[in-house]
């Protein structure tokens, strides 16, 4: 959306975009494993359930922001 650009291709921008996605993936993986760890330790307890909630919303936000470019909806450039 924000990057509907013409040739020539900006290599640095491209690499930055790739890196952004990979970092997003890294944090998603960390949070997924963290989530599983919290489950493994606190299964069946109330705090275990509550502790999962921040993990869920952080993951959701990473997908929305990094992968789905939700902020582009508010950006003025299109």
């Amino acid at each position: 959306m924000t990057t509907q650009q013409q040739v020539p291709i900006d290599r640095t921008k491209m690499r930055a975009a790739y890196r952004k996605g990979l970092w997003g993936a890294f944090w998603l993986a960390v949070l997924t494993l963290g989530e599983f760890l919290v489950f493994a330790v606190g299964d069946g307890t109330t705090w275990g359930s509550l502790a999962l909630i921040p993990f869920i919303f952080l993951k959701a936000w990473i997908i929305l922001d990094v992968f789905m470019h939700v902020k582009a909806l508010w950006s003025p450039d299109h």
Binding site: Q5, A17, G24, L52, A72
Partner: protein, 199 residues
């Protein structure tokens, strides 16, 4: 049958002085429309999630296959990342990267579907749909699987078109739309997975 059908684009001969609305709104409209559709879908998923909590609270049977669930979660995550890479590649005209990444996404999506199918077969033995938890489990997994399948079909169309060289940095809306939908499928799983397995 289609002899009278004309191309969709409504450009007329240049001599005609009729006003034509600027089409610069279209990319923005496409993105907005897709987001609205996704928000609409969020409501459908939330209805089913609400049904799960309403009928069974956070109860959960002991014989869930936790390892398999974690594995398919990771698989879906990988597919989402490669979908992102595919979208980024086509925006920067990197067609090779685009095809490879999209191929990985498709493969991972299919593995995910395979895992879910296996899981459902197993689940039907331990907690069939007739039980309260089974009802929610089969509904949520089924609804999500339905979206995975539609997402895979969309990605497959994009993949075939991409192999034939249809997309480029200035013509990437098809990729973008399908990939955004695929991310939404992943987003839904982010909520469904803990709801069914972890809470």
């Amino acid at each position: 049958m289609t002899t009278e059908a004309a191309p969709l684009d409504t450009s007329h001969d240049a001599t005609h002085e009729e006003w034509h609305q600027d089409t610069s709104f279209q990319p923005r409209a496409n993105v907005l429309g897709l987001w609205l559709f996704i928000i609409s879908e969020v409501f459908l998923f939330s209805a089913f999630l609400a049904a799960r909590f309403y009928t069974t609270g956070t109860d959960r049977p002991d014989d869930l296959n936790q390892n398999l669930a974690l594995a398919v979660t990771i698989v879906l995550l990988i597919s989402s990342v490669s979908a992102y890479l595919a979208e980024t590649s086509i925006k920067f005209n990197n067609r090779r990267g685009f095809i490879i990444s999209l191929g990985i996404t498709l493969l991972m999506g299919m593995i995910f579907m395979g895992g879910v199918t296996f899981e459902l077969r197993e689940a039907a033995l331990h907690f069939p749909p007739e039980t309260p938890y089974g009802s929610s489990y089969f509904m949520l997994i089924g609804l999500h699987a339905f979206h995975v399948v539609t997402g895979l079909i969309a990605l497959l169309i994009v993949f075939v078109l991409g192999v034939r060289g249809f997309f480029g940095s200035t013509n990437s809306w098809g990729v973008e739309g399908a990939v955004k939908y695929w991310h939404f499928v992943d987003l839904a799983w982010v909520f469904i997975y803990p709801t069914l397995y972890l809470l």
